[in-house]
């Protein structure tokens, strides 16, 4: 998909006007109402410039989807006549790769981007467990900002300049990682049960009685009732969030189209309605704090620049997309989308912070 399909405004931060950095690229095919959408990618952008990445307005999610079936073949044809930086061709080739690997995935395992399972994406299965994605390893690359040689472009390089111009050296680039996905089994009953068993064994050894009062002392305790979890500085919602995180401490993404997000604090934002079809939006995926940790660790080792993810302090970023994953573009974009065959839609991004 040629990158000029994405309007330049989309790639600028709402708050500071600077370029947005690509944080995540999620290949998320769906099957909705019997309609199979294979060419569907979500791009999540964040503003890495200092003091800006904190506000929720500097985050943006774009859903890029093909409008017609011929789009896939035309996109491959387009790959040969790219005049701009190779990042766009790279991205496109990834999509090609993603589709290819999607077809013969067993030997490869997950692809370079995130491959959300097709079964997870079905709209009808609301109770599906979220697929968690852990960072496999960091293949951290950053194009040297001063170098002009662009042969080796990173996966996550974003191209904000218009066509014809080579990539400017000041574009924010974040280190890239591979993400592996796995299904979540509901709160680690497995290993937790084992360690819980050990704890109770330890108790038995120490002779702590459970139901009886202490011998030798007439202590009649009474009046206890069920109490919700509480700590000095953490409320119930956050404690549940942390509990799920502790089961899989390295989860970077959670994906479940149509599922329920894992809230980190009580204020739920308002996802709004889809700008194209007016339908409601539904939860699709969320970013988790280990992602921040890995990004910051990776950035630590690289030469410091004026931008970086070090200012990001969110607890989670929740992404809502159109429930129907609509493809019909509004009138002003109709010509554009029919020409290129790709639909670009901005989706809702809700950021939750530590309180």
């Amino acid at each position: 998909m040629p990158s000029e399909v994405i309007a330049e405004d989309y790639l600028k931060c709402n708050v500071c006007g600077g370029d947005l950095g690509l944080v995540a690229q999620v290949y998320a095919p769906l099957t909705i109402n019997g309609r199979k959408i294979d060419q569907r990618v979500l791009y999540i952008f964040g503003c890495p410039s200092a003091a800006c990445g904190i506000s929720p307005l500097s985050w943006r999610t774009l859903r890029v989807q093909s409008c017609n079936d011929t789009a896939s073949s035309s996109s491959r044809a387009d790959s040969t006549d790219q005049s701009e930086g190779e990042s766009s061709s790279t991205r496109e080739e990834q999509q090609k790769q993603a589709t290819d690997w999607w077809e013969d995935d067993s030997s490869w395992g997950p692809a370079a981007q995130v491959n959300a399972g097709d079964d997870v994406g079905s709209l009808g299965m609301q109770e599906l467990e979220a697929a968690l994605l852990e960072a496999g390893y960091a293949a951290s690359v950053r194009t040297q900002t001063e170098s002009s040689s662009q042969q080796e472009i990173t996966v996550l390089h974003e191209d904000a300049s218009s066509s014809g111009e080579p990539n400017s050296p000041d574009l924010p680039v974040l280190p890239c990682f591979y993400i592996y996905s796995q299904n979540e089994s509901h709160p680690c009953r497995g290993s937790r049960a084992v360690s819980a068993l050990q704890t109770s064994e330890r108790l038995e050894e120490n002779g702590v009685a459970v139901n009886t009062t202490e011998d030798g002392q007439d202590e009649a305790w009474e009046g206890e009732e069920y109490e919700h979890d509480q700590a000095l500085s953490a409320d119930r919602t956050y404690l549940k969030f942390k509990k799920r995180l502790d089961c899989y401490p390295e989860q970077c993404f959670r994906y479940c189209f149509g599922g329920r997000p894992l809230w980190a604090n009580k204020d739920r934002g308002d996802p709004g309605i889809c700008t194209i079809c007016g339908g409601c939006r539904t939860y699709e995926l969320q970013l988790m704090p280990p992602l921040l940790y890995y990004l910051q660790q990776a950035c630590k080792d690289l030469p410091s620049t004026s931008y970086g993810p070090n200012d990001w302090e969110w607890l989670t970023v929740i992404i809502y997309t159109c429930a129907q994953s609509c493809t019909r573009a509004p009138s002003n974009l109709q010509a554009e989308t029919q020409r290129s065959g790709w639909l670009v839609v901005e989706e809702a991004t809700i950021v939750q912070y530590e309180t």
């Binding site: 790279t90 390893y137 042969q151 819980a196 305790w221 953490a234 910051q296 070090n310």
Partner: protein, 278 residues
């Protein structure tokens, strides 16, 4: 996994995506995790404070208390107090709820953690299984670890051994009052709050309680409240002018991420005391 990645880059010429060669492979931070157990042992920090702690930028727990930063990860406390932190289950009580199909029993565990030297935490957790309640209680207790100020009864000889002044705490209908005691008195209290005071590192204290102390939860929480107040009490030692320090968040980021709270003023006094005491 890195090898596979390298191969992929090598195979198709059309990929055109370099990994920056050595840097990519050299920077590989931990390969694919093996068995699940190892995954659970490793701590990936969730909050900003956690990231700073993991990096080693925070010197001690006292620095966190000084700026009243909320501790939202129990691993932070484990990191600083480590093996010195002991935990104990004070009591497990069954709690029942009447449902249409009979009674549903859950277990409520009261857990206290502490290092017997100025840090104590209290956790209460309800769960269907005893073991889960205990484990959850330990985590909640670690999240609630507070510093305890100790002082002298009379002569300031040796280490502080009792509460610095009379403090009282209330929870529900139970009020507990801690009164400084001379050395050698021991902890004069009921069995359960005595545990909390022992874990706090208080050696001698007189206590007096009032209200329905039969409710174990309220009783221990009232005692805990007392201990919380020991550092909130302004004594003449702390009359000295405060010296403002930079909060770790300010120190380690270029941006004022959080507004400085007015409470920094009182907290700096605490630091002065801590510095004086040790």
């Amino acid at each position: 996994m890195a090898e596979r990645g390298g191969e992929r880059g090598g195979f198709g010429r059309g990929f055109g995506r370099g990994r920056g060669g050595d840097r990519g492979r050299g920077d590989r931070r931990g390969g694919r995790r093996g068995p699940r157990r190892e995954e659970e042992e490793k701590w990936v920090p969730v909050t900003k404070l956690g990231r700073l702690v993991k990096d080693g930028k925070i010197r001690s727990l006292e620095q966190i208390y000084l700026f009243s930063l909320p501790i939202k990860e129990h691993q932070i406390v484990e990191f600083f107090l480590g093996p010195a932190l002991k935990d104990e289950v004070m009591k497990i009580m069954p709690v029942q709820k009447q449902t249409r199909a009979g009674q549903r029993t859950r277990f409520k565990a009261f857990v206290v953690v502490g290092d017997n030297n100025g840090h104590v935490g209290l956790g209460v957790k309800c769960s269907k299984e005893v073991a889960t309640a205990i484990r959850g209680g330990i985590i909640l207790a670690k999240l609630s670890v507070i510093p305890v100020r100790r002082g002298y009864w009379g002569n300031k000889i040796g280490k502080p051994h009792t509460v610095p002044c009379k403090v009282t705490g209330k929870c529900g209908s139970v009020t507990v009052r801690l009164v400084p005691a001379p050395r050698g008195s021991g902890i004069v209290a009921a069995r359960v709050p005595k545990k909390v005071l022992q874990f706090a590192g208080i050696e001698d204290v007189f206590t007096s309680s009032r209200g329905s102390t039969k409710t174990l939860g309220n009783f221990v929480k009232a005692t805990f409240e007392c201990l919380l107040k020991t550092y909130g009490f302004l004594t003449p030692d702390l009359w000295r002018e405060t010296r403002f320090l930079k909060s770790p968040f300010q120190e380690f980021t270029d941006v004022l991420a959080k507004p400085t709270k007015i409470s920094v003023l009182e907290d700096v006094e605490k630091t002065q005391f801590i510095e004086n005491a040790f």
